[in-house]
Symmetry: C2
Subunit: 246 residues, 2 copies
């Protein structure tokens, strides 16, 4: 499984993804699920969940143009040259549909579902910062101030803390804390999600990545958050008044 | 959907269940999912999740002997006369299998899965307090000090807090807080789980119910827990140190 969370905040983006993939309980590996296309005029990020063979094909197609034939000698459209984030979402949706056309029937023959979901976010120079959730059917929705986060993969364990405190005007610093708490809650409750994790922070209109880190079990700040949060929760529940009728 | 949680603690039981049932988003009703069989020699509780037609049939059969023909003039075995909690778990498993035999094929014809899961707990005089998870196949597992809780229904949202702090030696008072926090986290993240909720507390070896309450949105103690917990979480995440690299 996978857990990825993307916060779409007033000041920018906070993204966090785990790296565990598993095919059965005895075939566990680590793969980055966060992909970044960076150039002076763009920062585009994609986080992926679902069947790894599908999502790797989708990324190869959308980032490198792998498997795409040029038409009339024009350069192949990729995330390196799309003109807008909306075009990037459309391109990813098309890539998912192309992989579906190639793979879905063979997968179905062996009773595998065609599973892929992506969180696309970023900014192209002179345009708005945007975040999209791209579904396995290739369609997509956009994050908005009222719904300032998307999750993919094993989403439920880490959702309550987001529902309680994530707001569009949450600061990037607090967004990092939230993403880490949400990831930690998932890690503790589901062994199919595992460290190391990838963290990325992007400041709106900066056109450069503010932070990109791989976070292992021994990462000092992640440990501070995990241990501080655990201690605070224990204390908070101890501090609640006793039921008066018991 | 449904959310039920049962804590199997050194000092007794804390059980909490919601009351929402829905068949589609526009057919929502309230049904108790907590059932109690009480007599001077026994306190037996069952919480149910799954298809309501199935679980009501299972309860009618196991509690009242509905649909069971006496054999050789002997009284029908029900939860009112079983000799042990293990026998109660077996009886519930048999009831699920009887309902399966009657209903599963007709349900499958209309593409409905046979879904039912139960948390059985309680004590019969002179015997141990026990808690069982009864599956839709009629088999069951027992809670143990190492795994002091069971959940059924929409379980993931309310699991992280249990994983962090629920221990077998958690007090009943703290167990009530935990069950309420776990329920509240689920209520906030999933509209298919809804108030009012039912709460039951049983002290080990007491042979009587210590607390049984129906808890609505205006319940003063539940409000204290919800609001206190929300405020504490917000404060806890504010109090975490800022990321030093941002």
């Amino acid at each position: 499984m996978t857990y990825c969370v993307g916060l779409f905040l007033k000041d920018g983006l906070v993204l966090m993804s785990d790296t565990r993939t598993n095919a059965g309980a005895d075939n566990i590996a680590a793969y980055a699920k966060m992909h970044v296309v960076q150039a002076p005029d763009r920062v585009i990020t994609i986080m992926t969940a679902g069947n790894l063979a599908i999502t790797q094909s989708v990324i190869a197609r959308a980032v490198e143009g792998a498997g795409v034939e040029p038409v009339d000698g024009k350069p192949v459209e990729t995330l390196h040259n799309v003109k807008s984030m909306f075009d990037a979402a459309r391109l990813l949706g098309d890539a998912i549909r192309a992989v579906y056309d190639r793979d879905a029937e063979s997968l179905a023959q062996q009773s595998y579902a065609f599973e892929a979901s992506l969180i696309l976010s970023g900014q192209i120079a002179g345009r708005r910062l945007r975040m999209f959730y791209v579904y396995s059917a290739g369609n997509f929705i956009e994050a908005a101030p009222e719904t300032p986060y998307f999750q993919i993969g094993e989403t439920k364990y880490g959702k309550p803390i987001l529902d309680r405190v994530a707001k569009h005007d949450t600061s990037l610093e607090d967004g990092v804390k939230l993403a880490m708490i949400s990831m930690d809650s998932t890690l503790r409750s589901n062994f199919s999600v595992g460290l190391p994790a990838d963290l990325l922070v992007y400041r709106r209109d900066s056109m450069e990545i503010a932070v990109r880190q791989r976070i292992g079990d021994d990462d000092p700040y992640f440990r501070t958050v995990r241990e501080g949060w655990s201690a605070a929760l224990r204390q908070a529940y101890r501090d609640l008044p006793r039921p008066p009728w018991l």
